[in-house]
């Protein structure tokens, strides 16, 4: 009998081919929303977020058998999701031959194009400000601000020291503040 609340049990069931698909389905259902919103805030459009999310879980399906369990399952999933987002953004930019500054405006345009976009609302301004951040700072801010991830776990996801992450978060917040005050 699988315990869907126990990540270790889910991984065990998957690895030992006991109830592989059932275990995997539980993993998807447990983490899909969290991962989706993390991806969506990075890539903005739903279609792109959906593609990236599916790619993430396909990678989990193939890679879970070799998961060393050095970190939590949730940390490992976030790591894959973040890498997939960055890879996706890079491939989009390559395809369109856009520079870094164009990439920001591209994503900002997508935010503005959203049917519910309201420039007067602070929460929308926040989204625009987030897209102005450098990629790494963007990820740090999103993980801390929205996912409330402790720095220790973030360090495992991004393979960066906690000190560097704290500094990165501080800079990100200051840049967002500056954008909101000036726009």
């Amino acid at each position: 009998m699988i315990n869907p609340n126990d990540d270790n049990d889910l991984v065990f069931q998957f690895k030992n081919d006991l109830n592989k698909e059932v275990a995997f389905t539980h993993i998807i259902k447990k983490y899909q929303e969290r991962l989706y919103w993390h991806i969506r805030r990075m890539v903005v459009e739903h279609e792109n977020a959906n593609d990236v999310l599916q790619n993430v879980f396909i990678k989990v399906w193939k890679g879970l058998i070799n998961f060393r369990e050095d970190s939590k399952l949730y940390t490992w999933l976030y790591k894959i999701a973040t890498n997939e987002c960055l890879t996706f953004i890079a491939s989009q930019n390559k395809r369109k031959s856009v520079s870094f500054s164009d990439e920001e405006s591209n994503l900002s345009n997508k935010i503005v194009a959203d049917q519910h976009f309201d420039a007067n609302k602070l929460e929308w301004k926040l989204q625009l400000a987030i897209q102005k951040l450098p990629e790494k700072q963007r990820v740090v801010f999103l993980l801390r601000y929205y996912d409330e991830m402790p720095y220790g776990e973030m360090s495992a996801v991004l393979e960066t020291s906690e000190g560097a992450l704290k500094a990165s978060y501080h800079h990100a917040v200051k840049k967002i503040e500056d954008f909101i005050l000036n726009h």
Binding site: Q54, F57, D114, E148, E177
Partner: protein
């Protein structure tokens, strides 16, 4: 304080403006998206594994290929790789290197020309002078402290004077050759042996063969060599 409160407090310290922004999701998703997502993903996972290879396929592949190579005709396979390679030196050498090499080696072997005195007399004189000075000096050193009060013999006085004045060359010229020859006949072992040892092949001429064949001199010299602390 829970995680949410900690993060909020941290944000407040950094920026009140950002801390006061309402935290909400501005993006939307279609209804039922998450309900169907897992099924769609499972289908895609199944599709992605249409073309599969055994788990350790790529790990074992190099070994399999190597075994096949070894099991095939060994002679052919040994030369398989070598025969496809052109025998080329990857290294370069200066122009005319081998043409000039013999001359360069000869020059290195010969070394710079040395000016060697070929005067036999000069060799004799220098060696004899060195031995005499050494002997006289030795005698003086041994006897000086004891006989200081008693007085030094005439010969020793003279020797001392020569050493102090560094005038043995001028004194030497005044010595009669016959007297010198007589002295050497009586005390010549060490001088002969030293001469033999000092001569190299170029300097040894037919005239000096008698030095080489003076067995007593050679033996005496070799004995000294063995007992010398320098060679032990």
């Amino acid at each position: 304080m829970n995680q949410n409160e900690k993060i909020q407090e941290e944000l407040l310290i950094i920026s009140e403006v950002v801390a006061n922004i309402p935290k909400c999701n501005v993006f939307e998703v279609s209804e039922g998206y998450f309900s169907n997502a897992s099924a769609e993903i499972l289908i895609k996972c199944a599709d992605s594994s249409v073309f599969e290879t055994p788990e350790t396929y790529f790990e074992q592949l190099p070994e399999i290929i190597l075994d096949k190579i070894k099991n095939a005709d060994s002679a052919e396979n040994e030369n398989l790789i070598l025969s496809t390679q052109e025998k080329q030196h990857p290294y370069t050498i200066p122009n005319n290197y081998f043409e000039t090499l013999p001359d360069n080696i000869l020059q290195a072997v010969k070394g710079p020309a040395k000016v060697i005195s070929i005067s036999k007399n000069q060799i004799w004189i220098k060696l004899v002078a060195a031995v005499l000075v050494g002997l006289i000096g030795f005698v003086i050193i041994i006897n000086l402290p004891k006989k200081q009060d008693e007085g030094i013999s005439a010969i020793e006085k003279e020797a001392k004077k020569i050493i102090l004045n560094k005038s043995f060359e001028s004194e030497f010229e005044q010595i009669d050759e016959k007297e010198m020859a007589n002295y050497l006949e009586e005390n010549g072992h060490d001088v002969n042996a030293a001469l033999v040892a000092s001569l190299n092949e170029d300097e040894i001429s037919l005239d000096n063969d008698e030095l080489m064949y003076d067995e007593e001199a050679v033996d005496h010299y070799l004995t000294d060599l063995k007992t010398s602390p320098k060679f032990n």
